[in-house]
């Protein structure tokens, strides 16, 4: 409980500081760089969530513990949500800096790949009626899809040049303001904490739904 209240306060602080305390980073027009304090953590959480989902799927396939599959499913859904948010914020940032919402930058290409893979993953889950079969299939598909991701690393850079600010907000960059760095890392931590909180709620929800076989509406 105390962890959740602390997280709430911390996130409030970050939001206030990002808009009112920190100066905008050099090299970007106007105030747009402030969105990076939300965009980068979202992308980071999405990556983390998809990775966790893949690992949980493998654990399910090996041990056949239902909880591992609950974790895989919750993680995939949250990853999808954060991935979508990262796409939207990234698009806004792209419009403000490069003048177009979408230009098939390598990062944009790979994020679309991820969204498509996990879109298909949810379609697969909804299409298999048998519970155990659904879990196994979802795990298998998740691993199979994960194996295709490395190819993008080889292929995509051969086709387009990146406009992505590679090291503008890289914490290791010496030029970065210490104040900015603190709030940037703070934002990363806050988003990771938020993800863990949401993940645990989602897993508990799935567990109850599994018991009740869909008789409960949580959003009423």
């Amino acid at each position: 409980m105390i962890y959740k209240i602390l997280l709430t306060i911390w996130m409030n602080l970050i939001i206030a500081a990002v808009f009112l305390y920190i100066e905008p980073a050099a090299g970007f027009p106007g105030e747009v760089s402030r969105i990076l304090f939300f965009h980068v953590p979202m992308a980071w959480v999405a990556t983390l969530a998809f990775l966790l989902s893949m690992i949980a799927s493998s654990v399910y396939l090996i041990t056949r513990k239902v909880n591992a599959d609950f974790l895989a499913q919750s993680s995939a859904e949250l990853g999808f949500l954060f991935c979508f948010l990262a796409t939207v914020t990234g698009s806004i940032f792209a419009k403000a800096t490069w003048g177009s919402f979408w230009n098939w930058d390598p990062r944009q290409t790979s994020i679309v790949m991820l969204l498509m893979i996990y879109g298909a993953y949810f379609v697969l889950r909804s299409a298999v009626a048998d519970h155990e079969k659904r879990r196994v299939f979802a795990g298998v598909y998740s691993i199979l899809a994960f194996c295709t991701v490395p190819f993008l690393v080889f292929i995509v850079p051969r086709i387009t040049n990146s406009l992505h600010p590679e090291d503008t907000l890289n914490p290791a960059k010496p030029g970065m303001d210490i104040k900015t760095l603190i709030f940037f890392l703070g934002s990363l931590c806050a988003y990771t904490g938020l993800f863990v909180w949401m993940l645990r709620l989602k897993v508990r929800m799935l567990r109850i739904m599994d018991k009740e076989r869909g008789r409960i509406n949580f959003h009423k």
Partner: protein, 47 residues
Amino acid sequence: MKTGLGFVAAVNLIIWAGITLYLFILDRRLKKLERRPGYRDHGGGDG
């Protein structure tokens, strides 16, 4: 310019407040459901 930023910050804070409120309510609701007599947490195996 600073007034505009203040507005954006306020919108962000309101959205964040909404999200937290939702999460806390969901948490309470789940706890209530978990406390019902029929519910047991199963640690493994396929159910």
